[in-house]
């Protein structure tokens, strides 16, 4: 018992001095071109589950949710949610918008980091 306790204390000193290596969302910088008040938007007929997210934190795009076109990046058009919060998450959490190309979601745009997170496989969006 005493030996285990001593070991735990020792481990505390050893690991306590280390910076924990947090898991990061991998994104690459991209160039955003704004299209303010484009007036274009999309609505989803059905719920969309995104399972290939960084670090395995799944996300759901709600049925009936509306997404406003606010601009574009070289990877596609950027749609901002009007009625739900979308984030991507590892150790840290980043607000995210949809990146859509030819009615398929190809990734996330991170508006604060100005970065693009690519999906390994495109998701066809059930657009109304």
């Amino acid at each position: 018992m005493q030996r285990s306790f001593a070991l735990l204390i020792l481990m505390g000193f050893i690991f306590g001095g280390c910076a924990f290596d947090v898991a990061h969302v991998t994104y690459h910088p991209t160039v955003f071109t704004a299209q303010p008040q484009s007036g274009k938007s999309i609505a989803l007929k059905e719920e969309v589950k995104i399972t290939q997210t960084p670090c395995g934190y799944h996300r759901t795009l709600k049925q009936g949710s509306n997404w406003d076109l606010i601009g574009s990046i070289p990877e596609g058009n950027v749609y901002k949610p009007r009625d739900q919060v979308l984030t991507v998450e590892c150790s840290n959490i980043y607000e995210a918008y949809l990146v859509v190309m030819n009615q398929s979601m190809v990734g996330f745009y991170l508006p604060v980091e100005k970065g693009f997170v690519e999906l390994s496989k495109e998701i066809n969006l059930p657009i109304e």
Binding site: G12, F15, V112
Partner: protein, 146 residues
């Protein structure tokens, strides 16, 4: 040994309870959801849980301390439209980044996850409907520089 465990549980419970926020409830304060200031948005911060209540990390918004993440507590700040990063630190630094628009409201909820030695308190951006329903039972703890 049994007495030690009993004492440990009692002390932990006492610390947890005393570490919870005690100000007026959100429903009593009834703050405006939007900022009165033009070109500003309002950010609500709240922590609707007693888990890891003894952990009360500072809340840094773009590097400035705006409050503390206290169990069952809430506070809010008005900030100009722009991009923001909220950081809390225990044994690790956790951040959440988001945008704020003029006249809009954002809700940042603090939760606790299991850490190596102590828990990690981290902020999440949540839908307004979720924020409004969860913040109701939280108590006003004020901003850092009030």
């Amino acid at each position: 040994m049994k007495r030690f465990i009993k004492s440990f549980i009692l002390i932990s419970l006492a610390i947890s309870m005393s570490a919870c926020a005690t100000g007026a409830k959100f429903t009593e304060v009834q703050p405006d959801l939007v900022s009165e200031k033009q070109e500003h948005g309002r950010i609500f911060f709240y922590r609707p849980s007693s888990l890891g209540a003894a952990l009360q990390p500072d809340v840094l918004l773009n590097g400035e301390k705006v409050g503390e993440a206290i169990s069952w507590g809430f506070f809010y700040v008005d900030r100009p439209a722009g991009t923001y990063t909220c950081v809390t630190s225990t044994e690790v630094k956790r951040k959440v980044s988001f945008t704020l628009e003029e006249g809009k409201t954002r809700f940042v909820r603090f939760s606790t996850s299991i850490g190596f030695f102590v828990g990690h308190v981290y902020g999440e951006l949540v839908d307004e409907s979720i924020g409004m329903s969860e913040i109701k039972d939280c108590h006003y703890i004020g901003q850092a520089n009030q």
